[in-house]
Amino acid sequence: MLKAEPRRQSALTRIFNPKYIMVYATLGVFLVIYLFGALMYGDKGFTTLRTLTLMFSDNAYVGVSAVGMTMVLITGGIDLSVAAVASLTGMFVAYGVTVLGLDPWVCVLFSLAVGTALGLVMGAAIHYLNVPPFITTLTGMFMARGVCALISRESISIDNPTIDYLAGLKWYIMRLQDGEWVKLKPVAYINLSVLIFIAMIIIGTIILQKTRFGRNVYAIGGNEQSARLMGLPVARTKVLVYGFNGLCSVLSGIAYALYVKSGWNLALQGSELDVISCCVIGGVMLSGGVGYMQGMLLGVLLKATIPAIITFNGTMNSWWAKIFTGLLLLLFIIIQRVVVASSDRAKKTE
């Protein structure tokens, strides 16, 4: 007999659909760690909105890049060039504004064009030439780093009123007191980078959940051969995903440039791995097909919480953050394996 599994479509089962399991794992671990921080350092201000918004603004550039990376990982690919492209963006802006005296907007548009184009080219190489994404994007990374060094070996500081204005933009979080809006104490605000991050998360979610393109991304990650046989535009989707990721890398670079107000050819070295680990911690599977922007957002926050706790502790060496992040990553990779293994087992026993 065909197994007629009972149909369950209540709101509760919709929420507990097994496809969200990784997101819940991240949420659970985040809550545990956040609770730990709250209990230990609540009196020092760990639970204030200020701490939370600072966690956002310190990691916005990683998060923006992780939006694109999430999509790439869902297709089953990987992109190692993101940090190099972000660094290149910083160089373009710094060199263009400070040395060439160009309008910053021109530099930004130029960077967007170059970064997106590089992404598209890499995507095309991956799909049409069948070069593994790891190698293709490693090449992209070396090229971007090389161009950075060609532009300048020295750090170039950005001194420009527009950039200063953009970097200084702050939206204070207000609260209503005696019929008047006053700044929250301690002062909490979000800046342009955080705004870009939030906007990209929303855009990414809409693309993934509400467009055919986004669903094709999942299908390709699930089984590329099937996706092709189902008549989905595999080539176009893959190329565009890498293009979109290039765009995210540039935006990330802009967020970072606003953060440090300079361009340096060695900036953000190794950050691509931070980006990837945020995604993995956020439940995006490296094997493709599974992942959500919401999970990635939690991954970024989780990864930001650890250094925050260490800062609040005050006595621990900041390298402990790396060790804890490593442990966290290990934990999530093990969870992923367990989830995959248990679903395999479930299939076998049927």
């Binding site: 065909l2 467009t211 189902m230 989905l232």
Partner: protein, 507 residues
């Protein structure tokens, strides 16, 4: 049975050439509205190739396709779908990570206010699956459901595309009887709606059950087209393999001398929970068949003998010397060889060439310090390609590109090349066509005549009876009986297997 004459699809003069092989040579095929048309042929006859032309996967070299009176050119699967040609493949081609509903609708999702309308997708999928007799939660990921459900999902997808032509490429190979019956109901329903269905299968009784017409291909050529009532089953088989059945099965068992020395002696082998305790002897030139249900301990016994699974107790000796194996390589060095059940997973290395696959085991016995020269390798490969008549242009073709029967021959060649005293074959004829099966059986018997001993595991009793000198029947992880191969018949074996297991169907 009424046959409609309203032509829906006409393919004429189809030709495709792959490097070294003419896969299709002037094949014609006609599908009419409201008919179920069986496309039959042995592995490598060109069925899949023909289907892939029709679905836009392969580009044809010559020929024309006319659909609904219009000449069409197909360059991609999207093209085919747009024109109303849907395919359900043997291996489920869906995305396991997506929900059932999404698998049905992906690529053509209904949109609402600029976004995908998930509500409609879920509701309509639920309705579709219910109409196919399945009340399942379509919002769960596909990977949680059995293959049978997945197969139905892919049919639901194909049907909902408003296909004019539905191609079912061996959809029943992983379904049980009830599931097959339900699929047939769905097919008949679709036929009534005027859809043309192309049905590819290896099961002839299914052909006679649902099909209206049959087209047979052989070696890339069209043999003929018949109405279902115009051909007998025997004629059909003969036309598929191009030879007389009797001629194929004209096999003679290898003579067994009673005084032949014992090659393999195993006593009291066992692994808790897998095989209780088994003892057996195999003599030189003897073919010992292992019969029994799946899970009765057949495969496990073979794996213990070869030390894939280390026995917890008992001993194995070859020609009187204890093997004392810890890993399979020890067994290989004692001149044993083992072709495992799942040739795709444990047997062939699909990306290596035929030559590389054949020399693998020989090389392993010599150790990697003593590599074989290219000339030696080529000689060895060519010898076995000739000996086993493996159908390939040359020894450098990737094994993954061969048909199932030829892949099996390559594995046989690999082990024959080590010149073992004992060859263990676990289901060597599964999933290959009748002609190739007979060839493999003939090869086994030839090897026995030359003095090799063989342990032959199979689910098909008739081939066990046809080839074995002695038959060991396994039941419930134990040796249930040992029968003489001469004068043994199916019912005798079945009654042993069925003992205490009544109700479970044998084979």
């Amino acid at each position: 049975m009424c046959l409609s004459n309203d032509v829906l699809l006409k393919m004429t003069g189809m030709e495709i050439e792959f490097p070294g092989v003419k896969a299709l040579d002037g094949v014609d095929f006609t599908l009419r509205r409201g008919e179920i048309h069986a496309l039959l042929g042995e592995n490598g006859a060109g069925k899949s190739t023909l289907i892939k032309c029709l679905t836009g996967v392969h580009r044809m070299d010559a020929g024309s396709i006319v659909l609904d009176g219009q000449s069409i050119r197909l360059t991609s699967p999207q093209d085919a779908q747009r024109l109303g040609i849907s395919t359900v493949y043997q291996e489920v081609n869906l995305c396991p990570n997506l929900t059932v509903a999404e698998n049905i609708f992906i690529g053509r999702q209904p949109m609402r206010r600029g976004g995908i309308d998930w509500k409609t997708i879920n509701a309509r999928s639920s309705e579709l699956m219910r109409r196919m007799g399945m009340d399942i939660d379509v919002t769960l990921p596909l990977s949680g459901y059995s293959i049978a459900v997945q197969q139905m999902v892919s049919i639901a997808r194909a049907v909902d595309i408003n296909a004019k032509v539905l191609i079912l490429d061996e959809p029943t190979s992983s379904l049980d009887d009830n599931e097959v019956r339900r699929l047939f109901d769905v097919m008949r329903e679709l036929k009534k709606q005027g859809m043309g269905i192309i049905f590819i299968t290896h099961f002839l009784n299914q052909v006679f059950e649902v099909c209206d017409r049959i087209t047979v291909l052989r070696n890339g050529h069209l043999v003929n087209e018949w109405g279902i009532t115009d051909i007998s089953r025997l004629d059909l088989v003969t036309s598929m393999i191009g030879k007389d059945m009797n001629e194929i099965y004209n096999l003679k068992k290898a003579e067994q001398r009673g005084d032949a020395p014992v090659v393999l002696a195993a006593s009291g082998l066992g692994v808790p929970g897998k095989v209780e305790s088994i003892s057996l002897d195999v003599r030189e030139g003897e073919l010992v068949g292992f019969a029994g249900l799946l899970g009765s301990g057949r495969t496990e016994t073979a794996e213990m003998l070869f030390c894939v699974q280390r026995p917890a107790r008992g001993s194995v000796s070859m020609r009187g010397k204890p093997v004392g194996a810890r890993i399979p390589l020890d067994s290989i060095k004692r001149r044993m060889a083992f072709c495992p059940e799942d040739r795709k997973r444990d047997g062939i290395v699909a990306d290596l060439s035929i030559r590389e696959n054949i020399v693998l085991a020989v090389q392993a016995t010599r150790g990697f310090m003593k590599p074989m020269s290219m000339a030696e390798q080529q000689e060895l490969a060519d010898k076995y390609i000739r000996l086993l008549s493996i159908a390939t242009p040359d020894a450098e073709k990737k094994v993954g590109e061969l048909s199932g029967g030829n892949q099996q021959k390559v594995i046989l060649a690999r082990w024959m090349a080590t010149q073992p005293d004992l060859l263990i074959l676990d289901e060597p004829t599964r999933g290959i066509d009748v002609g190739a099966k007979a060839e493999i059986q003939r090869l086994m018997l030839d090897m026995c005549r030359q003095g090799m001993s063989i342990i032959f595991i199979s689910s098909e009793l008739d081939e066990i009876i046809r080839c074995s000198n002695r038959i060991i029947v396994m039941r419930d992880l134990q040796k249930a009986a040992e029968l003489d191969g001469e004068g043994c018949d199916q019912s005798a074996i079945l009654s042993i297997i069925a003992d205490e297991e009544t109700g479970r169907e044998a084979v």
